[in-house]
Amino acid sequence: MPDLIIIGSGPAGLSAAVYASNAMLDFKVIEKFSMSGGQMLNTYDINNYLGFEEVDGFTLGQTFRKHAESKGAQFVNDEIVKILKTGGGWRVRGNKSEYDTKTIIYAAGANPKKLGVKGELELAGRGVSYCATCDGNFFRDKITAVVGGGDVALEDALYLANISSEVYLIHRRNELRGAKYLQDKVKNNGKIKLVLSDEVEEIIGKNSVEALKLKSGGELKVDGVFIAVGLEPNSKLLDGIADMENGFIKAGESTVTSAEGIFAAGDVRTKRLRQISTAVSDGANAVHSVEEYLNKT
């Protein structure tokens, strides 16, 4: 039986692959899509990952992947649908095949959270978007809004300000949450209008987005709305297997979960700061914990 299955090929999974290769473990990486990167694929401009002054997410993802491949990591394209306990470890069941393993590094990441308002699902792809860098260009010289107050929301607003004629940044608190330098850039950008202490109640539109109804009672005419209100962890496969906290898999820096032989790395685990750098760190810690576990058993 192989030592390890790594689920996911974002920064945490790829970092784990590099460390697992160095540890000479018998392992595979299972990825849902045959192209690594995870959420950073949506990121236009990364300037805080050490060694890269400025890089786009796609390029950095490809760089990570090449590194893992150069170490001999094997990638399997399959979507995992179930994880089961076996006598000697775990069975990972995919759409295409089944994989038995002694241990699992679970690095399935997270997806953008939905806002949960009327019109959101109905108008998805019709002006409602979760990826400013993908869809911003469809709103050239149009009016857009970004919902959220964290780093991603601020980055999205700044990106859209290059394209749209006007960008509303709507945040439910009375001050923004993202990095200070981003806040400064947003406040000094003439195209971005802050709408603080307010929430979107409904996204209005017939065939495409036309306006946002706000909790304060007003209505904003917009052509597109970009939602950046946090993350929804892809933790469902471990429901009933490992302990969770607010949907995230409970694990500390060691990545050890309550399920023996399963280690949670990257955005899917409970942690304070979800960044590429902290995901990469988790990958290294997870392999170290896997080695400890294998030596013990």
Binding site: M35, G37, C131
Partner: protein, 103 residues
């Protein structure tokens, strides 16, 4: 195989095609599009009796406008000139296959 398609060939190759046709609307600067493309390629090798095309929305803005594309990647399946299935965002290979097979 997934072939590039231009605005002026669209009617002949997609609308007037009697097989189901999957069209992938994408752009080179869109990370998720580049993540989805290999999966579409793979499905095109598995499903016989359907055609597969991709539209670069930068090069063919008319097509993107005509079909109201506001998010990419968008996959649209046509049959007998009508839209029968549509999907926005990155989806697993099995779902792409279902989009075409259920057309």
């Amino acid at each position: 195989m997934v072939k590039d398609i231009k605005t002026n060939e669209f009617t002949e190759k997609v609308i007037n095609n009697d097989k189901p046709v999957l069209v992938d609307f994408w752009a080179s600067w869109c990370g998720p599009c580049r993540m989805l493309s290999p999966a579409v390629d793979s499905v095109s090798e598995q499903v016989a009796g359907a055609d597969f095309f991709k539209v670069n929305v930068d090069e063919e803005p008319e097509l993107a406008r005509e079909f109201g594309i506001m998010s990419i990647p968008t996959l649209i399946v046509f049959k007998n000139g009508e839209i029968v299935n549509q999907s926005v965002g990155v989806i697993p290979e099995a779902d792409i296959k279902a989009l075409v097979e259920n057309a």
